[in-house]
């Protein structure tokens, strides 16, 4: 169950890293609204200043670092450890990339991905003679 909640990144593990701490894949929920998609990512402990949201060539990447453990204490029991969060998503043409908004609160990063005008559901009025 713990593994489901927070997994160590698989793909970056094969990539050479220049630091010793692990990279985690944050758990994500995606909710569809009428005019936008909403992405909720759990990144507990992430410092707001360390959060980066990038959109490049159709790929949305979220990256965040978390505070390092206190130097004066020893960890005697651990179910989580300091590390970074990283995850990428391929975004379709349906999303208006210019209007992506991000909000961070209580350890959850919420991204709002508005749909382009053409992708929004439209009701077609039926005319009666």
């Amino acid at each position: 169950m713990k593994d489901l909640q927070k997994q160590t990144a698989k793909t970056p593990a094969t990539v050479e890293r220049t630091h010793a701490w692990p990279t985690f894949v944050p758990a994500v929920d995606i909710v569809e609204h009428k005019d936008a998609f909403e992405l909720h990512a759990d990144i507990p402990g992430a410092d707001p200043g360390s959060i980066n949201v990038n959109f490049e060539q159709g790929v949305l990447t979220i990256h965040a670092g978390r505070a390092v453990a206190a130097a004066d204490a020893d960890t005697i029991y651990a179910e989580f450890e300091p590390g970074e969060y990283e995850r990428s998503f391929t975004v379709s043409d349906q999303i208006d990339a210019g209007k992506i908004a991000a909000h961070y609160r209580n350890g959850v990063l919420v991204l709002t991905l508005p749909k382009v005008e053409a992708a929004k559901p439209k009701k077609i009025a039926v005319t009666v003679n």
């Binding site: 489901l4 929920d29 995606i30 609204h33 909720h40 759990d42 206190a70 209580n106 350890g107």
Partner: protein, 163 residues
């Protein structure tokens, strides 16, 4: 449990004798059920877990002065969390609810878990109950529990001398 177990004057040897063949069959039935479940699961017909309930990850740090218990509680606010100290056990309870905004739309993909949780953390040493502090920041709860003077005195570093 057999029905006679519920009647006080019928309990005893009779109930004991009766319960053992019952238990054999109950055990067999359980075994068969789990066998079938396992079979269907291997074909992907049944989900591996119903939907994992939320349970926060916990880390305990110890310094010379205190214990620090941290719990990852993303998406909760300080009002949803209850922290209690009973004896030498720290209890963290609460409930993670789906945010209202999320509910209004259609969930197309989900990995995060929700629900009520309770975690009990046994503390390795005595703490000063009146000076315990809890802080919630960026989805992480940190409870700082200062050690008592006796607990601090119990720890002594011995210097190693060379001859």
């Amino acid at each position: 449990m057999a029905f006679t177990d519920l009647i006080p004057w019928k309990r005893g040897t009779q109930a004991l004798a009766k319960s053992s063949p019952d238990n054999v069959f109950a055990a067999l039935q359980r075994e068969m059920n789990s066998l079938f479940d396992e079979f269907w699961r291997s074909w992907g017909a049944l989900p591996a877990t119903p939907r994992a309930a939320f349970s926060p990850s916990i880390t305990v740090d110890e310094s010379a002065k205190d214990y620090r218990v941290s719990a990852e509680l993303p998406g909760l606010s300080e009002k949803d969390i209850k922290v209690e100290l009973t004896g030498n056990t720290l209890m963290i309870t609460g409930e993670k609810k789906e945010e209202r905004e999320e509910k209004r739309g259609t969930t197309v993909y989900t990995e995060r878990s929700y629900g009520a949780f309770a975690r009990a953390v046994p503390l390795p040493g005595a703490v000063d109950r009146n000076k315990v502090k809890a802080q919630f920041k960026h989805g992480v709860l940190t409870v700082t529990l200062p050690k008592t003077a006796e607990a601090k005195a119990a720890h002594k570093q011995i210097t190693v001398k060379a001859e």
